[in-house]
Point group: D2
Chain length 401, copies 4
Amino acid sequence: MSEAKKARTEKRGFLERLAAGEVIIGDGGYVFALEKRGYVKAGPWTPEATVEYPEAVRQLAREFLRAGSDVMQAFTFYGSDDKLENRGNVSQKKHTGSAVNDEACKIAQEVANEGNALVTGGVSQTPNYLSGSGKEAVQEQFRKQAEVFIKNDVDFLLAEYFEHVEEAVWAVEELKKTNKPVAASLCIGPEGDLHGVSAGDCAVKLAKAGADVVGLNCHFGPDETLQTIRLMKAALDKEGLKPYLMTQPLGFKTPDCNKQGFIDLPEFPFGLEPRIVTRWDCHKYAREAYEIGVRYIGACCGMEPYHVRAIAEELSEERGCLPPGSEKHGLWGDGLRQHTKPWVRARARRDYWENLKPASGRPDCPQVSKPDSWGVTQGDKDLLQKTEETTDAELKDLFKK
Amino acid sequence: MSEAKKARTEKRGFLERLAAGEVIIGDGGYVFALEKRGYVKAGPWTPEATVEYPEAVRQLAREFLRAGSDVMQAFTFYGSDDKLENRGNVSQKKHTGSAVNDEACKIAQEVANEGNALVTGGVSQTPNYLSGSGKEAVQEQFRKQAEVFIKNDVDFLLAEYFEHVEEAVWAVEELKKTNKPVAASLCIGPEGDLHGVSAGDCAVKLAKAGADVVGLNCHFGPDETLQTIRLMKAALDKEGLKPYLMTQPLGFKTPDCNKQGFIDLPEFPFGLEPRIVTRWDCHKYAREAYEIGVRYIGACCGMEPYHVRAIAEELSEERGCLPPGSEKHGLWGDGLRQHTKPWVRARARRDYWENLKPASGRPDCPQVSKPDSWGVTQGDKDLLQKTEETTDAELKDLFKK
Amino acid sequence: MSEAKKARTEKRGFLERLAAGEVIIGDGGYVFALEKRGYVKAGPWTPEATVEYPEAVRQLAREFLRAGSDVMQAFTFYGSDDKLENRGNVSQKKHTGSAVNDEACKIAQEVANEGNALVTGGVSQTPNYLSGSGKEAVQEQFRKQAEVFIKNDVDFLLAEYFEHVEEAVWAVEELKKTNKPVAASLCIGPEGDLHGVSAGDCAVKLAKAGADVVGLNCHFGPDETLQTIRLMKAALDKEGLKPYLMTQPLGFKTPDCNKQGFIDLPEFPFGLEPRIVTRWDCHKYAREAYEIGVRYIGACCGMEPYHVRAIAEELSEERGCLPPGSEKHGLWGDGLRQHTKPWVRARARRDYWENLKPASGRPDCPQVSKPDSWGVTQGDKDLLQKTEETTDAELKDLFKK
Amino acid sequence: MSEAKKARTEKRGFLERLAAGEVIIGDGGYVFALEKRGYVKAGPWTPEATVEYPEAVRQLAREFLRAGSDVMQAFTFYGSDDKLENRGNVSQKKHTGSAVNDEACKIAQEVANEGNALVTGGVSQTPNYLSGSGKEAVQEQFRKQAEVFIKNDVDFLLAEYFEHVEEAVWAVEELKKTNKPVAASLCIGPEGDLHGVSAGDCAVKLAKAGADVVGLNCHFGPDETLQTIRLMKAALDKEGLKPYLMTQPLGFKTPDCNKQGFIDLPEFPFGLEPRIVTRWDCHKYAREAYEIGVRYIGACCGMEPYHVRAIAEELSEERGCLPPGSEKHGLWGDGLRQHTKPWVRARARRDYWENLKPASGRPDCPQVSKPDSWGVTQGDKDLLQKTEETTDAELKDLFKK
């Protein structure tokens, strides 16, 4: 066994690994993957499947582990109490947020122990913030989730998927009280957060708030995410701040996004298929992220286990090992040498796949879209948290816009 | 409970259901879905995961059941002995074809019993046929698989994924000896089989060979598959033949395919993402298939559980029920009324999704490709079955072509 | 001077040239080119510019001559009396059809004499036919135009741009009475004429009616036109008929056309720019047409002088000469060796241009369109000839459809 | 006659018109239009056609006048002596630059007098500058051309098509010595000039050098040109400078250009067809330019007479008149009400054309390209002026790059 590999086979801490210069590979996107599998509802996107269908969540976690993930992220996305009872969502009443988050931690812990992975619990933006409920109310939401994470003794905490750096800073402050390492990632692009704070300034604020790791997740594909992390790194460097960097981009191509990211694309969320990235896009992403200096390299919505495996394969030399799932995958298409048809065997090579420009099979479709840009921002009445389901009359008003 | 629904809740036979005019919904594609999850190797595409990772296969089967599948297809694709030892594949030696197929049946049976689904075992084209080994050798392969299926008492047998109707007829003849109902589907398009037999003539040959159900699977997307089944139906009608019809198309857009289907596309198999169909494409497919008169309406490679759910949702009125998985899916995007952002709530309506022309986010890519057309056909030395792995020297020769 | 070139420098007859196996290069599209220059109105598309702006017509004719055209086609398209007074067109009243056609012949003759070109006068489909006025009324229109052509002693007559082979046959019959050679071309595609007569049958009918040359012009781009001429040739061969063949396709890409051709495309006529063919498309067209056996190789709407020059350059070896206009054009981009920028000089080679896949710069646009398909055919009241301008009320009705 | 129209019918001076707030419409692109017509050679792009084929140049000028151009730009582009003898160009030896420029002025003057148009003579970037010959040598080139312009008493002088503001400033300084009004336009985009001077700074430098009009021409399509003029205007406003503004963009879509503009696109110059703008793109361009405050609104390479007519039609209300060429063009497609087919008549309306997303008919092509980016800049040996033609050996070296 190589030295590098040996180093990885004992379970060492999150910051310890980063301090040693190791690459930490994140996992992929739970909500999108489980929506396609039938266990998460698009719209609310809440994680009550942890109590309803734990075996389905566990299976996906195992697939990510097998793909090379070093972190099992407890499936707690949008697991705050206020989100679980937002607009007709009955999950809070039925299961309680505590139970949902607790079960998520247990599944993550169980699967992590099957390999050598770390466990994290995450908080994300809240309806309370969008409704303008103020710092205390918002932090209260985070506190409730963090209590569950601490009870389950996760390895580190994650504040992710924030559109406003202000709320992310509140989350970091709250999470830091636990004395666990804290990673913080925003869902912003090169234009900065929704209040107009530049990407660079966002990074600086998070670092100053005490985040050990700073970066990005969701809302933009690999290209735009890397473009943004470059802006963040430049600003951090200028300030002499040295947090570790993380990126967990979408598994979708998003060259046409504006500030709000893929939520604004007309294809969100049920027509994104033509935008799905290939495994080769993930190779490219992993390499570039590594070269920029990102060391927590993961993935978000749309990224399936095979995408994560591609990241792990690209960095296999740096990490000293291939992921377990590569048992079923020849590097750079090498498995095709076993194909029956000779012209498919002729594709068993790196340059073929690196240079492929994949067609969409949709000649009647455009290649880029015009994002919706309603300009609705924090505090707008259309964003207010409410427990009642949206009525048909309310919908009708929206359809007219 | 509606009459229609009640009728479906007792386990009735395959032909009984078809004779009653019921729609039978097939399942989706195992090899592609499990490749993405890390349990099947692209290249050989063989199903040894049934013995290696049964829980992963079982989970996928459950997702299809939940999506509305009335048939659990035992994961026996390419499970013939000669394929399991083709070009360096060690699965035959390690597991034996019998064990792989047997375990596939057991998983299918177990999951089918969790609902009200039928079980089928399938055979498909063999390296022996491509190598010109003759009828007896080829049928011997089918016989070995069929023995396992009979031992497991599946509800019906399937001869699927044949490029040459001759071999499919041999399969039907062999399978008919079991006295089980037999469905037969070719992987051909509007241009007919690889020996130049027209689609219509193919259908007639299969019906005359005794197939109870005749149709298509794989190699072409929904549009081309429906175009081809129309040709088949016209020829059958002309001959006064009345087998039931089945279609299980790819989950990819393939307007640019020639005779050989998606195998020839330069994107096969690792760059097909931009071609993945949306759930709305599946609604359209299901409706059109139904209107043509197809009653076994299923799906093949690239079709994930949510695609099957869309088929079941489109036909929910005809079937008298929604699939269990619709618990997590508002019809026609209705779940979006629970979304935080008002402009996403504005997408909670049928006409929005029916009219969407989804962009690929890839302006530097073409929309259609030029298929490889090597013209290598049955009997060519490049197609011969061989147990040794393809050598680097052989590959190098192919790369030059 | 080469023998081949010498042979071309004395003015020899139309059929004489064809009988000698020579290639005859047609000219390009007058109505579209002059519309862009400001002398023809899109909508009526009538040729009264011959009397109003003769110098503009003459200049374009000279450019075609210079580009290598062996035929100067008198600009008489849609010059029948009934078209010149259709739907508010005042040209008949103001100039008379006779004068318009006569001046067209004089210009064509003048320019033809500046080189060694032939002159032809053409008739095309009439509002009378669409209105169901009957054979005699329709032939009367052709007779009036033919009288002018005979008075001007053109080298041959052309019956072109017919959607219905029946009307084209009537035209051939009428024109044959003059004892001039007659060429006949339909504006149909692979699906045949608008009455459902197959392309092959159309060709046979025209040949049997006495047309010396049979072929196609307008409505489809080079690819579909060549596909159709192949069908025509096969049918003629089968019948043992040997007319010469001609093709004068559009200068637009039209893979998405149905039976009615580019008129049905939503881009017709003011959004066709992205479909304009390159000079390299014309090289390919000329070569393929020649190989099929077409010897009257010309061009129609959208084909500018430089497109015709490309045809002449591609066939320069067969013809023994380059066109005069090649003075200002290096073959296969060779003129770029004089460019200031080195990377543009690097494009001075054939394989660069042959392999270029030109981008549209329009990522928000589709690549193919859905043709309008109103199914309005000959005899429909919406097609009736009428002298009054379309009213706003009539338009409003149409906008609703 | 309206007041606005009356004002335009007496020939008033260039600055007088601008001072009165009038819109001045420029003409279109001579070199590209005449290349397509067979009178200019792509590669050298020099204007010796003025002496060789004056009637062809005159005809194009008349078409622009008819389309609404208020300025007849003498066809002197690249008419400097050093360009006329660059890399094998024999035009300087054969005709002399003086004669070429002189004849250009005479043609422009003749046509201008047929309407009420102004005449200008222009200088543009020189091989001398690229070769690093220094200010005096460069200005000597401009002086020689200016002498001809002054002799012909043009209405104003134009320094256009400069990639480096430094050379443009030298041109302005030289031209100002004549006491004629001077307009100056760079061929740069939003990234600024090739020496890295920002677009805003470029504008300020030109204004400070004394240019009465400052702006842009060529190298970028309407969208990018307008984006750049906005940057220029902002910088001028900030400095309190108030030159008039001009824009003469390409008639091509160029969203994928980098700093060097369309020269770097792989489609330049023989595969640009799919990028050609429609007349509706010109309406949009004219309106936006007007709203920004541009008052000299013209066009460059790729812009044909019908494009200029569209600019004039869009601004017909502001100008109090339609251009003469609108005699043959119904506003917003209105001429289609005279079309034979009802579904084409149904397109006789503004909103149809404003909303059309025109397809390219090229599904196998990308929508954007990757520009060549050789990074070769002023002073590089590959850019040196030389009179000898590029040799095959030199070309071969370039092909390898």
